[in-house]
């Protein structure tokens, strides 16, 4: 780990503090803002600053609690809470270097996935591992160590991170790569933004085989068939995921579709620029007062979606942009949960436990029907470490409306996941408790110790870090 002086300055002259607006005279703009997690589960009112120059990053007090915020798309409150000053760093969104021969790109952490796609795709490169919305930032992808629909082939986001530059007020600017600073790199990828402020990242891109993807759809008769169908499809698919209906009863519960995508090498055109992206953030998502997707409508919603899918062709070609960023065109789905919000639970179920989980879900949902608005599976291949959401098995995601009974159902899923030694995704679940995380993540203690070694004062804090006692 290479250490530099605690000052971020590298050539610019010192300047006096200049209050800009509404702030406390610390040289940058600040405001009191109410921030909400994307699932609507956590709300906090606190100080939000929006630095847009490097010198602003040095102007928080050295002992002031802080947390860095990118797009604010985390389902859990990883970028606010705990009384920390929230640093919105979306202005730091510049591409610093691009090596078009080796496919290495360096960018500031506020750079969005959409911008990278716009810059890299025309030059024949792309990031193989992406989160599902183009306005999510690179810093957010690193902090959450996100995955895509190709996790079983390409792993998590951290696999394409070559090195990082990180700022911590007590340690200055640190550089972490696989040779020097591997521990810091390890701690920061999937570290929930708690190890410091990611300034920039060097990313390894992949050659883009084509701009279009052929997606084949096959039927899944019932939930128990999911694992075998996913594994059979994995041999010849680049992208793989399912959509399943858990509002059905009897043998058909979990009926749905498996989608297997592969690049069309000679695919052309049909590029989807960001202007076609439907804008949404945690605030606008919660704009509807009514929760239209609720206990009374979820089954109809699922049946309608299934019917629409059933009449569509079994095979279709779509632009890579649309495949990588599906949320960009499905914003309405999230809005239907309204101000009350929703829960998302995402868990890695070990291969040998999937049958048990399917059986228990069937038993529970048959005895006590529950409005699961979306159930989806992906195949995972990897090894869990620290607090990274990684492992081998099936990644099962469940969305359901937030309501009086939702907490009880979520707690039941927690217990099931613990029983089968599964792994819940911390960043997707704003109510996940410390006990569950500690029980499911073998790396919990190691993460906590490494974090306290790096930052004994624990300056970077969020609601998530407080809830998980990190």
């Amino acid at each position: 780990m290479a250490r530099r002086p605690a000052d971020l300055r590298s050539g610019g002259e010192a300047r006096r503090d200049r209050p800009v607006s509404g702030g406390a005279g610390r040289g940058f703009a600040s405001a009191e803002a109410e921030l909400v997690s994307f699932d609507g589960g956590t709300r906090c009112r606190q100080t939000l600053v929006r630095p847009d120059r490097y010198r602003h990053l040095e102007q928080l007090g050295p002992k002031e609690l802080r947390i860095v915020r990118g797009g604010g798309y985390s389902y859990a409150a990883a970028s606010f809470g705990a009384g920390a000053t929230v640093q919105d760093v979306r202005a730091f969104d510049r591409i610093l270097a691009f090596d078009g021969t080796r496919g290495i790109l360096e960018c500031e952490a506020g750079t969005t996935l959409g911008k990278l796609f716009r810059v890299c795709a025309p030059r024949g490169w792309f990031l193989p591992v992406q989160a599902g919305y183009p306005r999510i930032t690179i810093g957010g992808c690193i902090a959450a160590d996100v995955h895509g629909k190709n996790q079983f082939r390409d792993g998590n986001f951290s696999r394409q991170v070559e090195s990082l530059r990180l700022f911590h007020p007590a340690r200055g600017v640190m550089t972490a790569d696989r040779e020097s600073g591997a521990e810091l790199l390890d701690l920061t990828c999937g570290g929930l933004g708690l190890s410091g402020h990611i300034l920039s990242a060097r990313l390894r891109l992949a050659r883009l085989p084509g701009r279009r993807v052929r997606v084949r759809r096959t039927r899944i008769p019932r939930l128990e068939d999911t694992m075998a169908l996913l594994e059979a499809a994995a041999a010849h698919a680049t992208f793989l995921y399912t959509w399943q209906n858990l509002t059905l009863h009897g043998d058909t519960l979990g009926r749905g579709f498996l989608y297997a995508g592969e690049f069309l090498e000679d695919g052309e055109g049909a590029d989807a620029p960001e202007s076609r992206v439907v804008a949404v953030d945690a605030d606008t998502r919660a704009g509807l007062r009514l929760q239209l997707l609720n206990g009374g409508t979820t089954k109809a919603f699922n049946l309608a979606y299934e019917a629409l899918q059933a009449v569509a062709p079994d095979e279709r070609e779509i632009g890579l942009h649309d495949l990588l960023f599906p949320v960009a065109r499905k914003v309405l789905y999230f809005r239907l949960f309204g101000g009350a919000g929703f829960h998302e639970m995402q868990v890695i179920v070990p291969r040998d436990a999937f049958a048990t989980v399917a059986r228990e879900l069937r038993r529970r949902l048959s005895a006590e029907p529950f409005p699961v608005a979306l159930a989806s599976c992906k195949l995972f291949q990897g090894t869990p470490a620290l607090l990274r959401f990684d492992g081998s098995g099936v990644c099962l995601a469940l969305d359901f409306p937030r309501g009086p009974a939702s907490g009880r159902f979520a707690a039941w899923v927690d217990a099931l996941v613990r029983d089968v030694r599964g792994l819940p995704n911390i960043i997707k679940d704003s109510r996940l408790g410390m006990d569950t995380v500690r029980a499911c993540y073998p790396g919990y203690e190691a993460f906590s110790k490494a974090l306290h070694r790096l930052d004994p004062q624990r300056l970077y804090r969020s609601e998530v870090s407080e809830r998980l006692a990190l």
Binding site: L8, R9, S10, G11, G12, E13, R15, R16, R18, P19, V20, S21, G22, G23, G25, F28, A29, S30, A31, E32, L48, R50, D52, R53, Y54, R55, A91, F92, R94, I95, L96, A97, F98, E108, V119
Partner: protein
């Protein structure tokens, strides 16, 4: 032919330089911190293939800034000078100390005056060029907030009138934009009377008009009648306003 943007690393200046880079103009980006400038220039090179050089210099040291820009642009045709530079201070309520007040005048007014005086002769000799300045609706009428800032911007407006009178007959186009609320750090967190304009959209408008727009213009346009009304409000009514 080079376009120099003074105050290029953040806010409207950053948006304008991005627009110019998109048009593949050759750029000299000027701001106080080399780190911001280097990052911005790198981004413009990668994203747009633009030629972008940087000059890190504090606008408060205006004479030295003018010299440094003169050296950086030596032997080059300067096509345009754009000045989205400014400094405000939340404590600018009439009690601002002399040194800070002087610094604001240096940044908001004298940096523009010094750079223009250094580069204008060459532009007039060639009989072409564009100079764009930025004032603020705060300069419409003196009030108990932004006291020195308003004074410096009103002085800038007078300077640009003179500049237009002097330079336009010699082929140099002079424009001054009087900006309303813009969604930059200057307005972040403030409760404002009217919505904030998007700096990217304003930059696109300004870049579209470069070389064609002359004289003073309000952006967004709604601020024209608002400012006119404020100016013509009887003192008895104006003194009661708190904004």
């Amino acid at each position: 032919m080079t376009w120099a943007v003074v105050g290029a690393s953040a806010g409207l200046g950053r948006a304008i330089s991005e627009c110019l880079a998109r048009q593949r103009r050759s750029l000299l980006l000027v701001a106080s911190d080399a780190r911001d400038l280097e990052a911005h220039a790198a981004d413009l090179r990668v994203c747009f293939g633009a030629e972008a050089r940087v000059l890190a210099h504090d606008g408060a040291d205006h004479a030295a800034l003018a010299d440094a820009m003169g050296r950086a642009l030596e032997g080059q045709d300067v096509e345009g000078l754009i000045f989205p530079i400014g400094s405000v201070d939340g404590t600018d309520d009439g009690r601002l100390g002399g040194p800070r007040a002087e610094e604001m005048l240096r940044i908001n007014l004298l940096s523009v005056v010094s750079v223009v005086s250094r580069l204008l002769p060459g532009m007039m000799d060639r009989g072409r060029g564009v100079i764009v300045g930025f004032s603020s609706i705060a300069a419409a009428r003196g009030r108990s907030r932004n006291v020195v800032y308003s004074a410096s911007k009103r002085a800038l407006e007078s300077y640009f009138e003179s500049l237009r009178h002097l330079a336009e007959p010699r082929g140099v186009v002079v424009a001054l934009y009087c900006l309303g609320y813009v969604d930059t750090n200057l307005a972040f967190g403030q409760r404002l009377l009217l919505p904030k304009a998007d700096s990217t959209a304003l930059a696109a408008r300004i870049c579209e008009e470069l070389g064609n727009r002359r004289g003073k213009r309000y952006l967004p346009a709604i601020w024209g009648p608002v400012t006119w009304t404020l100016r013509h409000l009887p003192w008895a009514a104006f003194r009661r306003l708190r904004f």
